[in-house]
């Protein structure tokens, strides 16, 4: 027995090996010590976006087994249902084999195989012509991309502003809501303090974002007996184990949260000290209706924000640590009437329209429950405070002998995000967290480095000017601080194809990939030439309004040319989108490639320290495929993009691996932060280290730095942390990060709508900007609620992600698809009675956008006004290596068909993207439906149905019997 301390997440005494793990002498001939593998390669999983460390066991040249890496900071040895099934993903029959050039009509699936050289020539020629004439005619959207710092940089060097990944239809509301408020956000930028929290609230989280860390965390809470409260219309997954499940009506979380705020304010249960130290609550706001400065902060001549000093009875620099700022009152400073931010907060949320009684019915949560939750929050935050015996120094140099914490933590995701009111709801949740004083404190919600950053952080979006053969003056995605930063022309019209950073979606920090196909098809705001996409199933489950999207992809003009002239698509598998490409660049699987999980991108840091990771080829491809990132780098070189070629015109980087090691974004800072410098002795900043990848491999595929104890909390105002962050290049200056409860950038948009400033919205947009760019969080009904006849479409329809599937990927996986190959529509028993439906009935699910047919399953654990189904199970025939009779394409269905991609026309006939008005986040969960039993002869199969895709050349039919593992055994037994 070893005496080493147990590693890994699930290493409780009851989860460890036997005290004596020697095989007993049973004499039954069982081989208890078979050889497991010839070698173990440690890399990073890609079965979803969680990016866990995995140990890949290779035996006889095949993957024998994949388990979690016990040292990895993300998953600490555990692995999820997807991760373990990685073997079947790697050996999927749907893997593309060679570059393909379309021969039949778009969408038919008729291709011929071509060599890589020809494929790259075709792409280079096309893109080169675009770059010489009008770079924005390349729309480059990269889907579920984990290499956005490369792809975005490539787009920038190419000179097109039309770049984004899938964040716009995923969770930009959470990212933007957080980054504009607290300078961080849930998931990748923060996490609950699982080890110390005593009260955990989970809003709108199915399995995703993120996967194993939440599960590990919930395991910890359960082991400690901490209370878990879930706010979710569906009682599945994490919500199933909540001590308190609140089956809220979809899209009303903001109301619920603001009612909690109301209760806490009314009872005086807010952390005033915390508000004064870390937020803009004391900052004075001009209150002069009609003036150009109305609603902006009061500043002194040097631009410092001012507060009102209660003691000195005069304005004071709000950042002055010695000040005694007021939180309430009405003042006059420099002749301007003003009030502290907190006064505005109190005025708004103490209003009775935010009381539990006022919101209960709309939320579907009784007022008593809201009051109880508020009381519990207050009780745990203020009566069960914790104190860690660690001394630390704040930004102003004040020493604190202990770290004080309020053990209430929260996590929120898609359920909040995927509504047209999600941005403000997310801000409301952060407001609640901050009022309780629970952000980055022991037991609360904690930032993950490189966050927090100033709210909003960093650079503004580039792309104001687009010129041939000219790189953008920055990265295409960024954070606007006011109308001046928008990407609009003199008429106020969008200059990006997805209309991000326009008046229609001013804070669109992740772009609007979901509107690209429609806009490109309509030539609105302009036609494009080439749509290049990577790894996103836009012709199926990643689009709203699938039927019309498919029609737009294949629509032709009068001359018979496709309205979207050229489509380049890269994917590893034969998804529903491949068939719509003109040129297909086949990608590798995740076990065959290099990747970096970079701090410049979407980090995998832990709240206790920054980290990053790599993928490296564990197996060599047995097909003529190449990793997309290497292909992109080669395309960059062939196009002669600056920074992709040396002065002599030769390629600067051999491939992605070469780029990962040698690229420097700014001097000393590259894709990987670990083992920098000639000898690998530096972190964060340092020279290029040619051995860097090997050092990562030797360390298990990742790098992680652990904070000293005094750096772990209050990062927004912790000197030791802030100094470290500057050193690492996370932030520019070691200044405190002030939480923006009141968002001045948003008010600037409002002022523009009121006719102030040099960039003003067109007349038609002013009402929308005025309404939704409210500097304080507020709740409004999801757009579809206001435009649909709710008598006719009384139900909400949601999707949840099955824990064992990642988008559409799981269905090609022989193991995962067995768990779910048909999705049911889950309907509340009571609701079914009203509709005359019985268990297992086949029904039409109808929205204003269309109808889809599926089979129902009756349950109790759902909000009665809500129906839901598993996401992305329905598949189109001919895709994903499935046989035509697979349940996925006969009984499984896709809710996407009935979710509109546009709002209903307004008075002027204008239709907006079906998205959040602030960020452009796709409003998947706004859809209203009715459910109608289908005729007897319609039961048993799903509709709509689509024509079957032809199979690419040399695709073998999938096997009838899978005996994976038999070969290992045969060889093992032969050797005995």
């Amino acid at each position: 027995m070893s005496n080493a301390a147990p590693r890994g997440a699930n290493s409780a005494p009851s989860q460890r090996p036997l005290v004596d793990s020697r095989a007993p002498d049973e004499g039954d001939g069982v081989e208890t010590s078979p050889e497991v593998s010839d070698r173990i390669a440690k890399t990073t999983c890609y079965m979803c976006a969680c990016r866990c460390g995995i140990d890949v066991h290779i035996k006889d040249g095949k993957v024998r087994y994949i388990n979690g890496n016990k040292d990895h900071p993300v998953n600490r040895g555990v692995i999820c249902g997807k991760g373990s099934a990685g073997i079947m993903q790697h050996y999927s029959p749907a893997r593309l084999k060679k570059p393909l050039l379309r021969t039949g009509p778009r969408g038919s699936g008729e291709f011929r195989e071509i060599e890589w050289d020809e494929a790259l020539n075709i792409a280079t020629e096309r893109l080169s012509a675009i770059r010489r004439t009008d770079p924005k005619k390349l729309a480059f959207f990269t889907g579920r991309d984990q290499s956005q710092s490369l792809t975005g940089w490539w787009a920038s060097k190419f000179g097109t502003p039309n770049f984004a990944a899938h964040g716009g239809f995923c969770s930009v509301n959470m990212a933007a809501g957080g980054l504009y408020t607290i300078g961080g956000s849930f998931w990748e930028f923060g996490e609950p303090d699982w080890d110390n929290t005593r009260y955990f609230m989970l809003f709108g989280v199915a399995e995703d974002h993120d996967s194993n860390p939440i599960k590990i965390g919930l395991g910890k809470l359960k082991a400690r007996g901490a209370k878990v409260v879930s706010i979710n219309p569906c009682r599945t997954g994490y919500n199933a184990i909540a001590d308190d499940w609140i089956g809220i009506r979809p899209g009303t979380d903001g109301l619920f949260v603001l009612a909690l705020v109301h209760e806490l304010l009314k009872a005086g249960r807010v952390d005033l000290d915390y508000l004064l130290r870390y937020t803009n609550a004391p900052v004075l706001v001009v209150q002069e209706s009609g003036s150009a400065g109305d609603g902006l902060f009061v500043r002194d001549a040097d631009g410092n924000l001012l507060a009102w000093d209660r003691a000195a009875k005069q304005p004071v620099n709000a950042a002055d640590p010695e000040a005694k700022p007021a939180l309430t009152g009405r003042y006059e400073v420099g002749g301007r009437r003003c009030v502290p931010v907190f006064q505005l907060i109190a005025d708004r949320y103490l209003d009775e329209n935010h009381s539990p009684n006022a919101v209960a019915e709309r939320c579907g949560v009784d007022a008593e429950t809201i009051r109880r939750i508020a009381a519990e929050l207050a009780h745990v935050a203020f009566e069960q405070t914790i104190e860690l015996p660690v001394a630390w120094t704040d930004w102003a140099g004040r020493r604190h002998e202990t770290i004080k914490g309020r053990p209430v933590s929260m996590h929120a995701m898609r359920g909040i995000s995927a509504h047209s009111n999600g941005f403000h709801t997310c801000r409301a949740i952060h407001l609640l967290q901050v009022l309780l004083g629970t952000v980055d404190v022991p037991g609360g919600f904690r930032f993950k480095p490189p966050y927090p950053r100033p709210a909003p952080p960093g650079p503004k979006p580039a792309g104001k000017t687009v010129r041939p053969m000219t790189p953008l003056d920055g990265m295409p995605l960024g954070f606007v601080c006011g109308p001046d930063d928008l990407l609009v022309d003199e008429d106020g019209l969008p200059t990006r194809i997805d209309k991000a950073y326009s008046w229609e979606a001013p804070l669109a920090a992740h772009g609007l990939m979901h509107s690209v196909i429609r806009n490109a098809w309509a030539g609105d705001p302009y036609p494009i030439d080439t749509l290049m996409m990577y790894m996103s199933n836009m012709a199926w489950n990643s689009s709203m309004n699938t039927v019309e999207t498919i029609a737009m992809l294949t629509d032709k003009d009068e001359a018979g040319a496709y309205k979207i002239p050229f489509i380049i698509y890269s994917d590893a598998h034969y998804s529903e989108t491949v068939a719509f490409a003109d040129l297909v660049l086949p990608d590798t699987t995740y076990l065959e490639r290099h990747d970096c999980i970079s701090l410049l991108d979407r980090p995998i840091s832990h709240a206790d320290g920054p980290g990053d990771a790599i993928r490296h080829p564990v197996l060599q491809p047995d097909r003529d495929v190449r990793p997309f990132q290497s292909v992109l780098i080669e395309l960059g070189a062939r196009l002669g993009l600056p920074c992709f070629v040396n002065e002599d015109g030769s390629a600067k980087y051999r491939d992605y691996a070469d780029y990962i090691v040698n690229h420097e974004r700014t001097p000393g800072i590259g894709p990987l932060a670990g083992w920098r410098g000639k000898n690998g002795g530096s972190i964060g900043r340092g020279d290029v280290n040619p051995d860097q990848l090997q050092r990562y491999i030797d360390n298990g595929g990742f790098w992680h730095h652990d904070f000293s104890d005094d750096q772990r909390y209050y990062k927004m105002g912790n000197r030791a942390y802030l100094d470290f962050a500057v050193e690492m290049g996370f932030i520019a200056k070691a200044e405190p990060i002030v939480f923006q409860l009141y968002s001045e950038p948003m008010q600037r948009f409002r002022l523009a709508a009121r006719g102030h400033g040099k960039v003003q919205p067109p007349k038609a947009e002013r009402g929308r900007i005025e309404a939704y760019m409210d500097p304080l969080p507020f709740w409004y009904a999801p757009f579809e609620d206001d435009t649909v006849d709710l008598q006719k479409y009384p139900l909400h329809a949601l999707t949840q992600r099955p824990m064992h599937m990642y988008h559409s990927w799981g269905s090609q996986n022989a193991w995962l698809r067995q768990i779910t190959s048909q999705n049911r529509l889950f309907v509340h028993h009571q609701t079914a009675v009203g509709l005359g439906l019985a268990d297992d009935d086949w029904v039409w699910i109808e929205s204003i956008n269309g109808r889809v047919k599926g089979q129902i399953k009756l349950i109790d654990g759902v909000n009665p006004d809500t129906v839901w189904t598993w996401n992305a199970i329905g598949k189109r025939r001919g895709s994903w290596g499935l046989k035509d009779d697979a349940a996925e394409s006969n009984r499984g269905f896709l809710l996407n068909h009935i979710i509109g991609d546009q709002t209903a026309a307004d008075a002027s006939g204008k239709r907006y993207s079906n998205s959040d008005a602030v960020t452009g986040q796709a409003a998947w969960f706004d859809v209203r439906v009715r459910v109608v039993k289908c005729a007897a002869d319609e039961a048993g199969f799903t509709e709509p149905q689509f024509e079957r895709f032809r199979q690419p050349p040399n695709f073998e039919p999938p096997p009838d019997v899978l005996r994976f593992g038999a070969a290992f055994r045969m060889k093992r037994e032969a050797a005995e």
């Binding site: 460890r16 388990n67 555990v78 991760g83 109790d860 994976f964």
Partner: protein
Amino acid sequence: MTCLPARTEKKLGLVIDLDTCVGCQACVTACKEWNTGGHMAPLTDINPYGAHVDGVWFNRVHAYEHTTELGGRTVNFPRSCLHCEQPACVTVCPTGASYKRAADGIVLVDEDKCIGCKLCSWACPYGAREFDSDVGVMKKCTLCVDRIYNDNLAEEDRVPACVAACPTSARHFGDLGDPASAISQLVTERGGIALMPELGYKPTNRYLPPRARSERAAKVDAPALEPIKAEGGFLGWIDRMLSN
């Protein structure tokens, strides 16, 4: 062989925490991937990419709604071999293929002796037996007998694949015959339950029941919030708080 050992030296088994299981299927596929190349390899899948796909799995997770007068809860329920003390699946076996190990109590199938009569699957009330129609023999959970004693694995990895994978720590492994073992203590502490005890199979595995709405529930005894009644209401209160 199919006569049961009078007693086993150990009673190795699993404990599954229904209070914590989120139904993520991690144990399910971890089990599949280990065992499809392990002692009973392969865990054959029939028609893996078509209609009516049907594979061999040693561990399956159900979802239930448990409704009592106190309310409802969704319960995810992993189901695998319980390695019973009185496993009729063993005693009914006509060939000696099924047996219970005297050393550790693990119930195994010797594939070479199995004639595929399926009677063991009829005798098992829990559905732990999985027939592999491709090779015509019965297969089942081995409690990862080729992991828990495996010299080729690091000692810390010598636990069943399902336990190693479980992200929520809902699965536990150990000697349930030793009252002093951590797993036995967990069972005592949390009121672990044997399934279908009335049938007399004496399963070794135990299930820890959900805690919500029980005396073990996580509770916050918070007094109701009282609005500030003092002069000036909430804003007056703030002023006083700040002046202190």
